[in-house]
């Protein structure tokens, strides 16, 4: 499937309002084009974080898309907000899709996708440990690498640790 076909398929799947568009879409209006990232390596789509669980279920269960393999899950601290990045691939169709969601830096919350992709359990714990993102519905959200008493989230850009960090 070419990237354009994939984009069309995803666009047909997603109802208006599930993407990162801030403006509400009137019911009778033609669906606005999805906010695809330009010049990206793989089709990359920004979605509304509150819709993530619904979107994830659809991407996983639609046979023509069948994104059954979550191969990378991470977070980026942009100082003003967080961006969650999910890299998905289909083991039957071998196409790749990137889903992104903007989170509020003061209160980063997004739904856990552990029930859909089991691999997310460890990856989400890692992101919680190093960024402090809360995953709603995660079965066992605890620190993974650092000790339970650790204060702060090391991969945030404003993290300071005079003992363990050496500034170059």
């Amino acid at each position: 499937m070419s990237p354009e076909e994939l984009k069309n398929k995803v666009a047909n799947l997603l109802a208006p309002g599930q993407t990162g568009d801030a403006a509400p879409v009137p019911a009778d209006a033609a669906p606005s084009p999805l906010p695809w990232e330009e010049g990206a390596q793989w089709p990359a789509l920004m979605i509304d974080p509150t819709q993530w669980l619904t979107v994830a279920r659809q991407l996983r269960s639609t046979p023509s898309l069948a994104f059954d393999f979550l191969f990378c899950l991470t977070c980026i601290d942009w100082k003003t907000h967080f961006t969650m990045v999910y890299h998905l691939r289909s083991t039957t169709h071998h196409h790749t899709l990137v889903i992104k969601a903007k989170l509020d830096r003061a209160d980063p919350v997004i739904a856990s996708v552990t029930p859909i992709w089991h691999t997310a359990e460890f990856h989400e714990r890692e992101v919680y440990d190093l960024f402090g993102v809360q995953f709603e519905g995660h079965p066992d959200l605890r620190r993974l690498f650092l000790t339970d008493e650790w204060i702060g989230y090391p991969l945030r850009k404003d993290y300071e640790d005079p003992v363990n960090m050496i500034k170059l």
Binding site: A44, T91, F122, H123
Partner: protein, 371 residues
């Protein structure tokens, strides 16, 4: 977390395995709930060798950060370096000279062989056979010597750089590799005679640590672990890089899904690696071993992701660049981390002695998991 250790109200026994247990081959700490000898739950505690490599890389330049990645999966350091170099090349659109491409593939396959040899010896040792370990290390030593001559290191090579490889091959490289191939071709049959057909070994492997195809995909398993469950996930075939689309080799899959299937996949992969090396060793093109690059590399603003097949599975490098000389954010998708998450699923219901066999066939490298 240590107050959990002991006997629970229902009579289950909670014990520690590691962080200094010999079968974990590193500092992996498992807390295991046992009912008699049957495993009810396995919970990995990570972080004993966490160095926050991703944070370190944010203050290192695009030439410097590759050196740190040798310290993640130290048995696949060439392939880690290769993945990082490919990601930088993708960002800067550097065309790698043909000679460097072939050298890279040769080094990758030698690394894969050395890694699988060590895995084979260590797995046999874990399940109680000490001799194979010495056989495996004898053959691995030959590869280490080849590496040492060309790269100057035996473990943390740092040989792949953006644009190609750091220095040209040692004059005796071709001859030594050919000697190794002839030697190892006969030895790998000996490996099979010694271990693969052994009834005791097969009893320890067959039917143990089963994972279905669907579960393996869901847990994000890659590499030989996933191919043992019948998933065609070899990056060398799916998204060929360098010269993998020009060499003949088979992607090995087994459908058993148990420890023995994963064992067979790795044994067959060694033969495939030998065949790849054989095809390339006499066909190394002449020319530059490194493309001309600027002294200071600056990636354009954007995001770059490169995927490569290490000895353990899919290794991903995700660079987010803001246009400077250092990455804004870097993420390493390590194969061991996802493979480990399936351990609890595989081990539940088996006897405690089988846990060692299951961990052995997952081929875990702890610095790769902790990063």
């Amino acid at each position: 977390m240590f107050e959990e250790i002991g006997t629970t109200e229902s009579g289950d026994l909670v014990i520690n395995v590691g962080p200094q247990h010999p079968s974990t081959h590193g500092v992996l700490h498992l807390i295991i709930t046992l009912n008699g000898e049957t495993i009810k739950n396995v919970e990995p505690h990570l972080g004993y060798i966490h160095r926050s490599i991703e944070k370190m890389c944010e203050s290192l330049t695009y030439r410097q950060f590759i050196y740190v990645t040798s310290r993640m999966d130290y048995l696949s350091s060439h392939i880690n370096n290769h993945g990082c170099a490919m990601c930088v090349e993708q960002g800067l659109q550097i065309e790698v000279p043909p000679r460097a491409k072939v050298i890279r593939v040769l080094m990758d396959e030698l690394t894969r062989l050395a890694s699988h040899q060590l895995w084979w010896g260590a797995l046999a040792m874990d399940v109680g056979a000490l001799t194979p370990f010495f056989h495996a290390f004898r053959e691995r030593e030959m590869i280490n010597e080849i590496m040492e001559e060309t790269c100057g290191a035996r473990l943390t090579m740092n040989y792949m750089v953006p644009g190609g490889v750091m220095i040209d091959l040692h004059p005796s490289f071709q001859q030594k590799v050919k000697e190794f191939i002839t030697h190892f071709r006969s030895k790998i049959d000996e490996y099979d005679e010694l271990v693969t057909g052994n009834v005791i070994f097969q009893n320890r492997m067959k039917g143990v640590g089963y994972i279905s195809r669907e579960d393996a995909i869901s847990y994000g398993c890659t590499g030989p672990t996933a191919r043992g469950s019948g998933i065609r996930c070899d990056i060398r075939k799916l998204f060929p890089y360098e010269v993998y689309d020009q060499v003949q080799f088979e992607e090995i899959t087994e459908t058993g899904g148990d420890c023995f299937a994963r064992y067979l996949v790795r044994m067959q992969e060694m033969r495939q690696s030998l065949s790849i090396i054989e095809q390339l060793i006499d066909n190394i093109p002449e020319g530059d071993f490194q493309a001309k690059t600027k002294a200071v590399l600056k990636l354009p603003k954007g995001e770059f992701y490169s995927i490569i097949e290490t000895a353990r599975g899919e290794f991903g490098v995700y660079i987010v660049s803001e246009g400077g000389t250092t990455p804004y954010r870097i993420k390493f998708r390590s194969p061991g981390f996802s493979n480990l998450s399936a351990l609890n699923h595989m081990a539940r219901g088996h006897k405690i002695g089988d846990l060692v066999a299951i961990m052995g066939t997952l081929d875990l490298v702890i610095p790769d998991i902790d990063r």
